[in-house]
Subunit: 672 residues, 2 copies
């Protein structure tokens, strides 16, 4: 063979290795072809698929390659064919941080030889093929060492030696020797997919968290302004309800200039406390605490107390300023100015928000602004905060979020960011792509079976499932939705169960929810009357009718059932009643839950639901038990159609754990 | 404003322009995110969509950018919002060649100002806003020249001057002045999608062509070996049938070593002509003509004669060698060798093809091999050939095809390549992505309504629609499908209509098709008895029962109806009879056809079909005419449900042109 390659290496437009015959394409998952990271949490399984094939009928081999950012070496996982030239492989990143993965494939001369050898029906052909195999085994031996090398060298000699045909077949197709050869493939002409896709691995709470929103200033007694210390007193009760993130609205000094009064009145009285989102006053801005809440030391004590109770304090980061925020005087270049030289307040004509100055992200001084805002996060991380709820991120420049979240995560991979963007779908998705761990959703306004089914199918089965983690809220301090205004206690219970079981991340705006607060500021409004945003509230949290015990049962079910701790396992069931929504979630370990909710808060609803026992891991031919984790009731079901009836006056939902029948050694049945 | 940017330009990990707030994502169409080109033909409309948006409520503007490869300047087309932050723009490349397109967007300060101004309901606010507008108009004037500049300068002065509020509103929202300002936007902070997507523009025949396959050696008279000159004699009849591509199997010298006999017999007799795909003998290889067909000059005369008849000669490029091909001796390094030193013949164990030597694309000499194969194409391009049917491209290395097609197209953008790959779906799609203009399909084996509907929906509405142009064949010299063996004349007619109307590119293996040749080599086989692949055939092409007149009518309908000249406009209709398949195709000019085929060749079938008159451009409230271009019959239909009946003994298909009723000035109705 002449060395023509050397002569012709300058073939214009040709690839470096024209003999790289394997194709790798259509690698999944990815977000915008690798522009953004796919998200998982530590310990999650990452399944990667790709189309791998070559010309002709040669056999390809492929491997999933993955590594943690900063590692020099790639790890490799096997990939298995799943039909139609598609392959699947899996890895399980155990540490948080950034990763990359890709797929490599090659035409495997040894596997092709073996595939063909098994199909040869002519002894002469087999003799010739054995010589080819001997050469392949010898080449594999060159790439091996130790025992493998010795075995392959011996195999090569045996294949080359004259053999009886039956013995030759056995030798050539020897499984153990093939396994050794496969360990030392010839990958000189391998094709690696040109993109190494980014993966972001966060800690588990990014995927599974239970939020409780609380105004510390309302934790005082006898109408006094609450403090961090008062707030700490409330924590055990919140922990008993099963929450793990306690989220506080902004805790900073509140502006006095153009302060809003109760119910968003334009003019505040001298004793009015103002809105915590009007951040900044003479006492300080985004890194100061409100003097009436307490000192930084008091705040740290609160953070520590929460941690003792296995909870975390989440802070609200609202990047906007009251007119008397120190930034306004110190950094006029961070704000837009009106023709008269005054600072431009927030507006969306005809609406004006004269108490709020937005930052100007088109400022020429954007680098200094970005650095300062980064340092605000960094400051609170220094104070022990690891969870941030970000207020209206969709009104700040997208490139800033991508940069600041990545920078913070580099040093603090355990920080979780929740995007509070109630806006257009593309904008919400972009923020999730840019790095937010969790996102507010439209759940608050999705009421009917059809609305809920369509929306949660989109969230859990659409492209967003790789990067958009829904965090569902039945209410917020801004939003008392109509469903809660008109539905009474049953609506609160139903909306809680829906939020807590449709999504692995959910939260409630605390005392107002557990006490069933349902009066709007005026008819048709979505705002609370006497909203806590503008006034202190004295919540009778120990009231008899508090939903706290019910909430605790729901949250205990979430904690005990891995199926409720992820979003990608949701499957809706068919029911013959439009008021009954039913769905299952199943865990990797095979355990499952089945939820049925009566969406009508006023009437008993009943119907038949259709389920696939096999999908739930139970034997279709035998009865199985469903155990309602809310009421404690147990039912024996069988087959694919089963009857349910829900009286909203008692409980508008079943949260069933599916119990598989297990037979013990003594022939005693029990349900697992 | 301080120049903080200069101080902080080193912000680690930050983008070059943090003030670039607009987002461009989800640009469509694309093939593998720009790894391969989207395909169109000259004069086609290219619709491009993208999601463009920004933070907050500012207004974005965007443009579609496109240019021909080699051009220095980008062209820009407007984009219009189509809802949900999605935008669409269009361009129409008139010349063949490579193009690129992308999308750019920016936050438009002027449009945002105008949007807000229109919503301001306070005269004081409007006065302040007018000052802002004056500054924006002045800035726009700086970017403009000539009359635009003067108009904007005047506008700026007027906006800055004290004005009555009513006059100010009028002035600020003046449509004509806005149109001038929009022509001079501030694009300093524009975001351009980072990928400029490739587009391949071919000539129209890549999208719409009608193929006739013909063995020139069977064109002789009285059993003599046919010549190019004999073949030229057949061309007028083929042209009359409406074909525009006459495709010849390989025209090269045929190997004598291990030549096959009639019906693929292993041993040939001394007078057997062999298979044209066993290429190469002492007389030459891939750039020689078979001595009995004629000289290169004779071939050129055939090409010229076809051109006179508005047809093209397509050559078959089969990159493989007979054992006596001159390459085998001259370039042993292009072939794989067996342990005994002999050249490795083609095999797919247990099958062996000892008369064929494949090239070894893993040869170290691949660059020389690639260059030689490139030169084979280039040689025939030099002889006037512009259409190539490539034999079994899926058994040659993919990187070769990508390189050779791109190289050839650089100099000869009018060359069309048809991929004859009957293999796995991913492989067929890869070849189309790599550059083949058209592709063989599974049409040949898709018979039922469901099979046809699913397959053509996938082809015309799936991702392949951007790069995979089906070319459908009811038969080939290799394939006499079962449907033609058992269905008689009606099956031939039905399969022809299906191929010719489901796909804009189709072909038949000529005389065998028009004469209804239907006898397999043996029962259960798909091969023709006495296949022309291995023997001369004497076709009685003037036989009374030839389908030629029917074929001519079908092809005339294709020529006269733009709706039949593209693939992206297919829509299936509902019928209440599983044997009746119905579909429409509509053209950009609004004209449309409706095809109904009886898939049962043995029985009359009738039923109701459901159509949407509005989709076909006719008034639902009035009768419309359907005109069968095959039988000449005209029917008046009305409404959404109409009755059809097809007797396979007469005609198994309707090919209706939809005629819209037009009222003349004299109140005389006619159908357009």
């Amino acid at each position: 063979m002449t060395d023509a390659a050397a002569v012709d290496a300058t073939l214009p437009g040709a690839p470096a290795d024209g003999a790289a015959r394997a194709v790798v394409e259509n690698v999944r998952p990815h977000v915008d072809h690798g522009r953004f990271a796919v998200k998982r949490v530590a310990g999650d399984r990452v399944d990667v698929e790709a189309d791998c094939f070559t010309d002709g009928h040669d056999v390809v081999a492929c491997r999933l390659r993955w590594r943690r950012d900063g590692d020099a070496q790639w790890n490799e996982s096997p990939m298995e064919p799943i039909g139609n030239d598609r392959w699947r492989g899996t890895f399980r990143p155990e540490a948080t941080g950034g990763y990359r993965y890709t797929v490599t494939a090659w035409v495997d001369a040894f596997l092709s030889w073996r595939h063909d050898f098994a199909r040869r029906n002519d002894a002469d052909d087999r003799r010739v093929a054995a010589q080819v195999g001997a050469a392949l085994a010898a080449a594999a031996a060159e790439r091996a060492s130790g025992a493998d090398r010795a075995a392959l060298e011996r195999w090569s000699r045996d294949l080359a030696a004259p053999q009886d045909d039956a013995r030759l077949r056995e030798l050539a197709l020897d499984e153990a020797l093939a396994a050794i050869a496969v360990r030392h493939p010839d990958r000189r002409h391998a094709t690696t997919y040109p993109v190494a896709f980014p993966l972001l691995v966060e800690r588990e709470r990014a995927r599974f968290s239970t939020w409780y929103e609380l105004f510390p200033r309302s934790c005082g007694t006898a109408g006094a302004h609450g403090t961090f210390a008062d707030c700490a007193q409330r924590l055990p009760a919140i922990a008993r309800m099963g929450f793990d993130v306690v989220y506080l609205p902004p805790i900073h000094p509140i502006g006095r200039v153009r302060r809003k009064g109760p119910n968003n009145a334009l003019v505040a009285g001298p004793d009015d406390v103002g809105s915590p989102w009007a951040i900044g006053a003479a006492e300080g801005g985004h890194t100061a605490t409100h003097p009436q809440l307490g000192t930084l030391a008091d705040f740290r004590a609160l953070v520590a107390r929460a941690r003792e109770l296995s909870m975390e304090i989440a802070l609200d980061i609202a990047f906007q300023c009251a007119p008397d925020h120190p930034y306004v005087a110190a950094h006029p270049e961070w704000f837009r100015h009106r023709p008269d030289g005054s600072v431009q307040y927030a507006e969306n004509p005809p609406k004006k928000y004269q108490d709020i100055y937005p930052f100007d992200f088109e400022s020429r001084a954007w680098p200094a602004l970005w650095r300062e805002l980064h340092d605000v996060f960094a400051f609170w991380i220094g104070e022990g905060v690891r969870v941030f709820r970000v207020d209206n991120p969709h009104t700040k420049a997208f490139p800033f979020w991508e940069w600041v979240i990545a920078r913070l995560r580099e040093r603090h991979p355990d920080v979780i960011f929740l995007s509070e963007a109630f806006t257009r779908p593309k904008v919400m998705h972009r923020l999730a792509k840019l790095g937010f761990s969790q996102s507010y959703t439209y759940f608050t306004w999705r009421n009917t079976k059809r609305e809920l089914t369509e929306y949660f199918t989109e969230l859990t089965a659409g492209p967003g499932r790789e990067y958009f983690r829904p965090n569902c809220w039945p209410n917020t301090p801004d939003i008392l939705p109509e469903n809660l205004q008109v539905g009474g206690r049953a609506a609160f219970m139903a909306r809680l169960v829906l939020a807590a079981t449709l999504a692995a991340n959910y939260g409630i705006y605390g005392p107002a929810f557990e006490l069933g607060e349902a009066v709007p500021r005026e008819p048709g409004a979505e705002e609370y009357l006497d909203s806590e945003k503008y006034a202190l509230r004295d919540w009778p949290v120990d009231r008899e009718d508090s939903l706290a015990p019910f909430i605790a049962r729901v949250n205990a079910a979430r904690r005990d059932n891995p199926a409720l701790q992820r979003d990608d396992n949701l499957a809706f069931l068919e029911t013959d009643n439009e008021q009954l929504i039913a769905y299952t979630k199943t865990a990797e370990d095979g355990s499952g839950v089945l939820v049925v909710v009566n969406l009508d808060p006023h009437h008993v609803q009943s119907g038949w639901l259709v389920l696939d026992p096999g999908h739930l891991g139970v034997d279709e031919s035998r009865p199985f038990q469903v155990h309602d984790l809310l009421s404690g009731a147990r039912f024996l079901w069988s087959g694919r159609r089963n009857f349910v009836q829900l009286d909203p006056a008692r409980a508008p939902a079943h949260l069933f754990r599916i119990r598989r029948r297990v037979r013990t050694e003594r022939d005693f049945d029990y349900f697992l």
